[in-house]
Amino acid sequence: MPLPPPLGSPSRPRYLLGRLVRLTLRYRWSCLGLILLNFGLLALGLTALSGVGLAIDYLRAELDPGATVFRFPFGWSPPAGWGSSAILWLFGGLIFGSAALRAVLSHLAAVTTNRLGQGKIVVELRSALYAKMQRMSFRFFDANATGSLINRVTGDTQSVRLFIDGVVVQSLSVVLATGIYLAFLVRIHVGLAFACLAFLPLLWVIVILFARWLRRDYEEGRKKVDSLVLTFEELIRGMGVVTSFGLQEWAERRFLDANAAVRQQKQGVFRKLTILFPLVSLLNQLSMAVLLGYGGWLAIRGELPLGTGLILFAGILQQLAAQVNVVSSVADSLQQTLTGADRVYEILEATPEITDRPGAVPLAEARGHVVFEDVSFRFQPQDTVLQKLSLTIPAGERIAIVGPTGAGKTALIQLIPRFYDPDEGRVTLDGRDLRDWRLDDVRRQVGLVFQESFLFSASVAANIAFGNPEAGREAVERAAKLAAAHEFIEHLPNGYDTLLHENGANLSGGQRQRLALARAILLDPAILILDDPTAAVDPGTEHEILAAMDQVMAGRTTFIVAHRLSTVRRADRIVVLDRGSIVAVGTHEELAKQPGYYRDAVLAERGQSGEGNQAKEGAG
């Protein structure tokens, strides 16, 4: 299969259109059904209108038998003995009968459209998109804002659906309808048909042009409102600063400017709307005037019946006027559809960077022997995060990684659970390249605690059992006890069943981190990675986490990234990183004696806590 053209390339729209058409063809029978339904609706509508026209002509013939001759359509004639009231009931029945059938068909059409669009297409697209996204690599999430990702699953999938029921079905239906109306009118009177429909193309062009023109305005308007809300939110969140520095006037100016910009932009939209609406309405009335003038003239000359001619024409003109909305929405939908499809297929087509290699081996239980062999890694082609880094960590060792911001600490540990793969060199686990183990198995062997651990809005127990939803309550409690979390969980209002707010907002920082520890060790991983777990809590609560850490690290290969000495000192060995390379390795005692980053950091921290001052005084 050839590769899809990349985003923004000139052949992309054509390619997307091809994909959309293929998608439509998958649902061709439902689409065909919908078009047939639309056709039925149209035919029944014409029948009802004809009923009215026939009735009027019949009445006129009855009143003045000399002036006009009435003929029933299709050469049919009523049985002898039918009185005029029976015939009137026949017309009435024809009108109501076809209208009733029409109601049933429009119900069917509405339900079918929804079942196809919302029930099938959107469900399939959303599920597929979400499942795919879940497996995308971190690079992908680094590159895309949360809002845009949410939008792809919610809004853009709807845009793709719109192609089927909004563009294909609708435009085919409009073409069909216009064709049938035209044929019907031409059958009655050719000249009048074209005269009355003369304004139709003009109307369509106007509506399509305005739709395109206004859409740009609406987008602009949305941006203005967004910026108003953004300004507002910023000012309200910063209200403490605004008040305490007495900046009220400045804040007011800022808000009023954004507010005025919104109104200013709207004025332009209004100018266009106040042209568009009356113009559309006027064109419809002009068609009516043509009908009255030309049609009236024909009627006077006896070339056109009044009911089945003039009044039927008037009815059809009304129907055509209603179709204008459909035309403008089709034109608008097509553009929207292509934009949406671009963003949906970008993801569906992408191959996740990190997958199982062919022939990957399952890993039941790891020992935890990790080796970095000449590993180089970069997030973006230009920069270098890790350079030819080699390091051996025997199973069960506790290793701390320190270094200034940007040294590559986080990058290094993210290679172990294969959030990223190295660009050069390899990382091995128990002697085999990580990429040759099955990905899920590797990740199961690695327990992770982040700087600020994300908790889901579910119960405490569900959060701890995140890695294994089938885990029983005992397993959950055992993990919690190991992570020194059991006690505080028991004190929560509903114990393990307490629901956490979004991102565990109802817990303290120390509690959140201990829950994250419990979550990490539930699966009894051979490797534990602690990415600066005490960074976001103040020193007062730090010791809560440190005590828990000591317990869970026992018997596991542990990687700790940390700034605070109190955390770092718990390691067997300390690795100092600087600009992607290892500059020193050793125990705390060894490194504290060597000049370099580590000793400076130790001195800086001592100096702040006061002990260093005394030491210096002693030395002096």
Binding site: E62, S84, A131, R135, F466
Partner: protein, 615 residues
């Protein structure tokens, strides 16, 4: 609904889309969403009308065009019928030409009226919403900090956007569209009654049925739409959580489980969509059927009237009815829609006005004091304070800070240290007791004067959209670039800022350059230094940064505090080390106080913490 429930296994660990949680979220939001509509209230309407006063000219123009249009629409339809019945039926060519010309002329006039009708309605609506937003914001600026702590930002935003928007729809559409449509209905009714009152009674008899049907389905539809939007917000909420938590999900290999749950959610939403589609798919065809039923009746009843041997109805009337009936029936559904919009607008207006009616928690005394200078002595005497009436957070706090001292406030989350800081800043006033600056009760001091002498460095390191330079000279917009550079130099971080691409002109804040925590903090320090306040309140960041950066911020902080009375909500030992006085709070009471050395020597709770942290 049950078939799309996510499968529950084992002990309540259904995972990220647990039904109960969603219920919980819904209940939490319930108080907000429940009142999406409010009954029509004359008081609210009158007050809203007050906001159109500045646009009186346009209002008059609008009223005239609305009236004109209500008459023009039925006349246009009647005109079409009349042309058919008159010149065409008579076969009068000349009259036909003239009457069609008149028809076109009248159509032009009608559309011209239409143009101004919508122009003025749109402009007035937009102006009113603009003024309402401005009024709300001005009002918010006058409220006290307590209000912003109670109200989530999201709620204020929805006042400003959603509620105001509903009011706009009310102003732009409801009133005038209702008048036009109502007038159109009335006009048609009169014309039909003149043509033939017996047939008109048939039409009239059907109107209530249409109205009732409309109400019935609309109620069911709005319920269906509500469920639809609820299930939709579950999708977006789950989506957001999944993206934010992706690292956790992948590290625990939960991708498959999550995808299954999500599919269930999506199918659930689709089922609500189906309900809505089925309801509206029944309602709209029925409505249309009604109009058709009328046509059928027109043919049967009207037709027999036409053919009646005595007192027959002219066939022309039948044709007139054919043209007018459509115009008579269509407003019914529009009016039903308008009523709904009106009720929504009422709820919006109620909430907008409740913002405008919020009174500040406290106000400056009518004759506030503005001393000529402030030395910076701060004292609290037996201060009791509560955010909610019967739940005091401070129980009798007393302390005194001499001018130029550094006071460290220490205590766990919820101990009351931010409240103490807020009281000094006069964000709140105490329920009893007093906060004194240079011996004067802050209640008697003019707030603007006080805030001129006060500076705050919040923990979030709040930066506004704009350049670094603008953020630093926020308080002194006339400060020169050199002055700002000098301040940064004194804080020993000028090179650090200049190393950022575009230096001091780099855009920060929402969507701006990403700065490190330390950089943001230093910008806020510089801002406070430029403001040069006598009293400084500094909420120290809890997060750890690497030791070398940390040392640099510590030095900058000490420099900033020089010569000012400063209160530090301290999280770091080194800060405590340099404080003149440490006040340890626990649950709204001072449990220990003194110099750091005294406290360490005393062996109390502070000493224990100190030991744990410096180990």
């Amino acid at each position: 609904m049950s078939q799309s429930d996510p499968p529950k296994k084992g002990p309540k660990v259904a995972g990220i889309v647990d039904r109960e949680i969603l219920e919980g979220i819904r209940r939490e939001r319930g108080d907000e969403d429940a009142r999406a509509q409010a009954p029509l209230s004359f008081r609210l309407i009158r007050r809203l009308f007050g906001f159109t006063r500045p646009y009186r000219g346009k209002m008059i123009g609008l009223s005239v065009t609305v009236l004109a249009r209500a008459i023009q629409m039925p006349l246009l339809a009647w005109g079409a019928g009349t042309i058919i019945n008159g010149p065409i039926a008579r076969g009068d060519h000349k009259a036909l030409a003239w009457s069609v010309a008149a028809f076109v002329g009248f159509a032009l006039l009608t559309e011209l009226t239409f143009r101004y009708r919508i122009k003025w309605a749109l402009e007035i609506g937009e102006s009113v919403i603009h003024d309402l937003r401005a009024a709300m914001f001005r009002h918010w600026l006058g409220l006290t900090m307590g209000y912003f702590q109670r109200q989530p930002v999201g709620r204020l935003i929805s006042r400003l956007t959603g509620d105001a928007e509903n009011v706009r729809v009310g102003v732009q559409n409801v009133l005038f569209v209702s008048l036009v449509q109502g007038g159109q209905m009335l006009g048609c009714a009169i014309l039909m009654a003149i043509e033939d009152w017996r047939l008109f009674l048939t039409v009239l008899g059907m109107a209530p049925a249409v109205w009732l049907m409309d109400r019935f389905f609309r109620k069911r539809l709005s319920e269906a739409y509500r469920q639809q939007s609820d299930s939709y917000s579950r999708i977006t909420a789950t989506m957001a959580e999944s993206v934010t938590g992706i690292r956790v999900t992948q590290s625990f290999s939960r991708e498959g489980v999550n995808a299954t749950h999500f599919r269930a959610l999506v199918e659930d939403h689709a089922s609500y969509n189906m309900v809505a589609a089925r309801t509206s798919g029944t309602f709209l065809p029925l409505l249309e059927l009604n109009g058709q039923l009328f046509l059928a009746l027109l043919v049967v009843i009207g037709g027999s009237h036409v053919l009646a041997p005595n007192d027959p109805m002219p066939i022309g009337s039948l044709i007139q009815f054919f043209f007018l009936a459509g115009l008579f029936f269509s407003p019914i559904t529009v009016l039903g829609n308008m009523l709904n919009e009106a009720l929504t607008a009422m709820a919006g207006a109620e909430r907008v006005f409740s913002v405008l009616d919020t009174t500040p928690d406290w106000q400056d005394s009518p004759m506030p004091v503005t001393p000529s200078e402030l030395r910076g002595q701060v004292e609290m005497r037996e201060v009791v304070f509560a955010y909610q009436p019967d739940r005091p957070v401070l129980h009798g706090i007393s302390f005194r800070a001499e001018a130029g001292q550094c006071i460290a406030l220490v205590g766990a989350t919820g101990s009351g240290k931010s409240t103490v800081a807020g009281l000094i800043a006069k964000f709140f006033v105490p329920q009893s007791g007093a906060v004194l600056l240079d011996g004067v009760d802050t209640r008697d001091l003019a707030s603007p004067w006080l805030h001129q002498h006060l500076g705050i460095v919040p923990q979030q390191n709040y930066l506004f959209a704009g350049s670094i330079l603008e953020n630093i000279r926020l308080v002194r917009p006339r400060a020169s670039r050199e002055a700002v550079e000098e301040a940064l130099r004194r804080l020993d971080c000028l090179e650090m800022m200049e190393a950022i691409p575009q230096g001091l002109d780099a855009e920060v804040g929402a969507g701006g350059a990403s700065l490190s925590l330390g950089q943001r903090q230093l910008i806020c320090f510089a801002r406070a230094l430029i403001a040069d306040p006598k009293i400084l309140i500094l909420d120290e960041a809890t997060s750890a940064i690497d030791p070398l950066t940390e040392e640099r911020t510590q030095r900058a902080m000490r420099l900033l505090m020089q010569g000012r009375t400063s209160f530090v909500l301290a999280h770091r030992l080194s800060t405590l080390r340099h404080a003149d006085q440490v006040i340890v709070l626990e649950q709204g009471r001072i449990i220990e106080r003194g110099t750091p050395d005294q406290l360490i020597a005393s062996g109390g709770s502070f000493a224990k913490q100190w030991e744990l942290a410096s180990r």
